[in-house]
Symmetry: C2
Subunit: 144 residues, 2 copies
DNA sequence: TACAAGGTGAGATTGAGTCTCATTACTGTT
DNA sequence: AACAGTAATGAGACTCAATCTCACCTTGTA
């Protein structure tokens, strides 16, 4: 899904939910649209300020929470004490991450076998699984 | 592995590493030994104080970091802004968690299929995977 | 017992994230 | 276009897990 498609989808969902538009929200959405992978709230705030579109901290967090609530973004934590956010695709397509111990880089990957294993798990455990996160720690190809 | 075995193993590893014993360390280790699953640093500090063995916050965090460094404990985050810790087994046996959206309960599970899928992944991606976390979110059996 | 290296903890500090509330902006209606 | 009602915004105070500092205490060894 292209960046533009994603932000259009976001606007559609939010207006469907009866929400008004607002400048801060637009800014955060536009920024996320251009970033395929994991950005922290602080990074978002800094990038917006750096690009001449300063946005209140409260608004940044509000928008991110809103997006996550509506399934439009994913929240993930890699263990450095801050949450990261990335846009998520409405068709359920998603990826997971490897954190490199050496260089700290975040590498995205997806794997049907893994998704399958998790689907099976839901039945076996007798629980409803709404979402899942897989985080690998190790050495990335560059450092490995 | 029984509680006692685990704490003996911990002491063996740490003394092997040339570390001295210390009262705070003993207290944290003994407490973790009795808890099979995910305890936060704050909970550890509180439980120790409540049981008449008050221990400095700095020491609690130091001990936990030490255990994680030596592979004697696992750190996990379930998205509530605080890290949780649990003892880990030297044979590599481990479990993962489901966080119930409704009641907040943490349910442990293990699954060979999942582990297998992750093993395969390592080859396919061409990276070295040292450890992994899987976190499911959904409804536990009780709330489901 | 002496001594060096490690261990400990009170309290200050950091920093991500939350909360408040007065102000401003959006949108549908007359 | 003016209005009304409701949603959005942001400065800054606040919370709280986690980190840092540093003077003091313990342990293990010779």
């Amino acid at each position: 899904m292209a960046q533009t498609e994603w932000s259009e989808h976001v606007h559609a969902v939010l207006s469907q939910a009866g929400l008004k538009r607002g400048a801060s929200r637009e800014r955060v959405i536009e920024l996320l649209a251009t970033k395929p992978c994991a950005l922290s709230a602080v990074e978002i705030e800094d990038e917006l300020r750096a690009s001449g579109r300063p946005t209140g901290r409260a608004s940044v967090y509000r928008v991110l929470d809103l997006l996550v609530e509506h399934g439009l973004a994913e929240r993930l934590e890699v263990g450095d004490g801050q949450a990261r956010f990335e846009r998520s695709h409405p068709d359920g397509e998603h990826h997971h991450h490897l954190v490199c111990d050496r260089c700290g880089r975040l590498v995205a990957f997806d794997d049907p076998g893994l998704e399958q294993a998790i689907d099976r798990l839901s039945d076996r455990l007798g629980v409803r699984i709404d979402s899942h996160d897989v985080l690998l720690r190790g050495a990335c190809q560059r450092c490995g």
